[in-house]
C-alpha cells in the first residue's frame, strides 16, 4: 500500500523524485487520482504556503515544492482529463511589455501549477494584444501580470485597457504583482487583485475561481 503521508512529505520537502515514485505506486494500486491531489498534495502545498508566510520557507523551498507537485501532477493529468475532471482554473501569465524580468513571473507560474492551475506562460515583454489573444484562444478566466520596473508599470494599465477594448474585461479576472507594485496601484489601474508574493497569488487565483463558481 503506497503511503500517502510520504507523498505529503515529499511535496512539503520538495523531493520530486519521491513524490513521483509514490504517486506511481499509488496509481498502480488503484488509488483515485483526485484523492491524491485533495488529500495529500494540496494540503502539502498549503503547508508550504504557511511556512512561507511564517518565513520558515523562502523562494528556493517554494520552487522545489512546486516542482515536486508538478512532477506528480503530470502523472495524474492524463487520468484526470480522461475522467473529465477540470484543472483548478486556467491562467494566462506574463511580464508586461517593455519589461524583460521573469524571475517573479516564473515563480508565480510554478506555484500556480503546483496549486493545480493550468498555466499559459507568455514569457516576458508581452504586448497587451498578446494577452488578449491568449485569453480568447485558451479560454482562460484569469490573467496574471508581472512588472519589476517602475517604468513598465503603465503597461499593466494598457493591458487592462486592451481587455476593455476587446470587450473581454468582464470575462477575466486580472491580478498584478511585482516588486514596485502596490495594492493602491492595483486599484488605481482597475485590476481585480494584487498578490504580494507567489503564495498570495495562488490564494487570490483560488478566490477568483471560487467566486466564479458561486
Amino acid at each position: 500500500m503506497a503511503d500517502l503521508h510520504r507523498l505529503y512529505d515529499a511535496v512539503l520537502n520538495g523531493d520530486q523524485k519521491t513524490a513521483v515514485a509514490v504517486t506511481k505506486e499509488a496509481l498502480d494500486e488503484g488509488c483515485d487520482p483526485m484523492e491524491l491531489i485533495t488529500k495529500s498534495m494540496v494540503p502539502a502545498m498549503d503547508e508550504v504556503g504557511r511556512r512561507f508566510e511564517c518565513e520558515e520557507y523562502f523562494v528556493p523551498e517554494l520552487l522545489l515544492s512546486a516542482r515536486a507537485m508538478k512532477g506528480a501532477l503530470e502523472l495524474l493529468r492524463p487520468l484526470l482529463a480522461a475522467s473529465g475532471a477540470q484543472p483548478a482554473g486556467r491562467v494566462v501569465i506574463g511580464t508586461v511589455k517593455g519589461d524583460l524580468h521573469d524571475i517573479g513571473k516564473n515563480l508565480v507560474a510554478s506555484m500556480l501549477e503546483g496549486g493545480g492551475f493550468e498555466v499559459i506562460d507568455l514569457g516576458a515583454d508581452v504586448a497587451p494584444e498578446r494577452f488578449v489573444e491568449a485569453v480568447q484562444e485558451k479560454r482562460a478566466s484569469i490573467v496574471a501580470l508581472s512588472a519589476l520596473l517602475t517604468v513598465t508599470m503603465p503597461s499593466m494599465r494598457r493591458t487592462i485597457e486592451a481587455f476593455e477594448k476587446a470587450g473581454l474585461r468582464e470575462s477575466v479576472k486580472v491580478m498584478v504583482g511585482g516588486a514596485p507594485v502596490t495594492p493602491q496601484f492595483a486599484r488605481d489601474i482597475g485590476a481585480d487583485g494584487y498578490g504580494e508574493n507567489a503564495t498570495a497569488a495562488v490564494a487570490l487565483a483560488r478566490q477568483f475561481v471560487q467566486a466564479a463558481r458561486q
Binding site: 523562502f58 520552487l63 502596490t182
Partner: protein, 290 residues
C-alpha cells in the same frame, strides 16, 4: 594591509545614486537596457556619470549592471559583452577624471540556478567574461551588487577576484517581516560568512527596502564579516502619481540616516533606485556635519 584601507581610512566614502532613472530622463526607452547606451549614446551616459562626480561622489559606478552575456542575450546583444563593459568603464573613468574612483558594476544574471534556468557553469562563464572585460578598461575595483542567491554571489565573487582587483559583494535584502533576508532567504550573517570565506574585500546591502532598514543590516554585516560595509539603499518604494512612479523620500530625509549608518560601521554610502545627484549632495553635506 586590507586593500580598501587607503580609500576608507579617512572616514565614510560617499558613492553615487541611480543611473537608470537618470538615463530614462534623458530619453532611454522604458524597459530598454541602459547598458546598450554605453555604445549607442556614450555622451549621455557620460553626462550622468559627471552629474554624480559634480554632486560629490567619491566613488562612481559604471553603466554595466546588466552587461553579462545571459542578460545581454535577451536583448539581442550577446555579441557586445566586451564592448559594452569596456566602454562603461572608460566613460566612468573619463567622468571621474581622477576626482573619483570607478567601481565597475556587475549585477545578477536575472536567472535562477535553483530551477535550472541557468547552470553554475553558465554563470561562471558569464561573470568571468564580464569581469575580465571590465578589468581590461582599468576600474579601481569591481562591485557585485543586488545579489539574492548565495551560490550566484559566490560564483560572481570568484570570477571578480580572479581579475586581481578589489571586490565588493552587495546583497538585496528585501524579503521577510523585517526585510532582512534576500528573496532567496539569505540573512546578512549567511552572506557575510560566505563572502568572507571567498575572500572579498567588502560586503554590502543595496536596493531592498527603505534606508531606515539598512542601519541594523549594516551592523549585522559588520559584526559577521569584520569587513568594510557598502550601503546603497533605495529612495523608498515608489508611489503612483499621475500615471508615473515617483519616489517620495526626500534627499534630506535620506541623508539623515548617514550618521546612524556610519555608527553601524558603514564605510561606503550612496543610493540605489530612485536616488539622484541631489541625494549625493545631501549625503556629502551630512558628512560635513558628522
Amino acid at each position: 594591509m586590507p586593500r580598501l584601507d587607503p580609500w576608507t581610512g579617512r572616514g565614510v566614502v560617499i558613492t553615487d545614486g541611480a543611473w537608470g532613472t537618470r538615463l530614462q530622463a534623458l530619453g532611454l526607452e522604458p524597459g530598454a537596457l541602459p547598458d546598450a547606451w554605453n555604445l549607442a549614446r556614450p555622451e549621455l551616459v557620460l553626462q550622468v556619470a559627471r552629474e554624480y562626480v559634480e554632486a560629490g561622489s567619491e566613488v562612481i559606478l559604471t553603466n554595466t549592471f546588466r552587461a553579462n552575456r545571459i542578460a545581454l542575450a535577451e536583448a539581442g546583444l550577446a555579441g557586445e559583452v566586451g564592448g559594452i563593459n569596456r566602454a562603461g568603464v572608460e566613460i566612468s573613468r573619463r567622468a571621474a577624471a581622477r576626482r573619483a574612483l570607478v567601481f565597475a558594476s556587475i549585477g545578477p544574471s536575472g536567472k535562477m540556478l535553483i530551477n535550472g534556468e541557468v547552470s553554475a557553469e553558465d554563470l561562471e562563464r558569464a561573470f568571468t567574461e564580464q569581469a575580465e572585460s571590465l578589468a581590461q578598461a582599468g576600474p579601481d575595483a569591481l562591485l557585485v551588487e543586488t545579489m539574492s542567491d548565495l551560490e550566484e554571489a559566490r560564483i560572481a565573487a570568484r570570477a571578480a577576484l580572479a581579475t586581481g582587483l578589489p571586490v565588493i559583494v552587495s546583497f538585496a535584502f528585501d524579503t521577510g517581516r523585517n526585510r532582512d533576508r534576500t528573496m532567496m532567504g539569505v540573512t546578512p550573517e549567511m552572506a557575510a560568512a560566505e563572502m568572507r570565506a571567498v575572500g572579498v574585500d567588502a560586503v554590502g546591502a543595496n536596493c531592498g527596502a527603505g534606508i531606515e532598514r539598512f542601519v541594523p543590516l549594516c551592523a549585522r554585516l559588520k559584526a559577521a564579516s569584520g569587513l568594510p560595509v557598502w550601503i546603497k539603499p533605495n529612495a523608498g518604494l515608489p508611489a503612483w502619481r499621475d500615471g508615473r512612479a515617483v519616489y517620495l523620500g526626500s534627499p534630506e530625509q535620506f541623508a539623515a540616516h548617514l550618521a546612524p549608518l556610519v555608527e553601524a560601521g558603514a564605510a561606503f554610502v550612496g543610493g540605489c533606485c530612485g536616488t539622484t545627484p541631489a541625494f549625493v549632495r545631501a549625503l556629502a553635506a551630512a558628512r560635513e556635519a558628522l
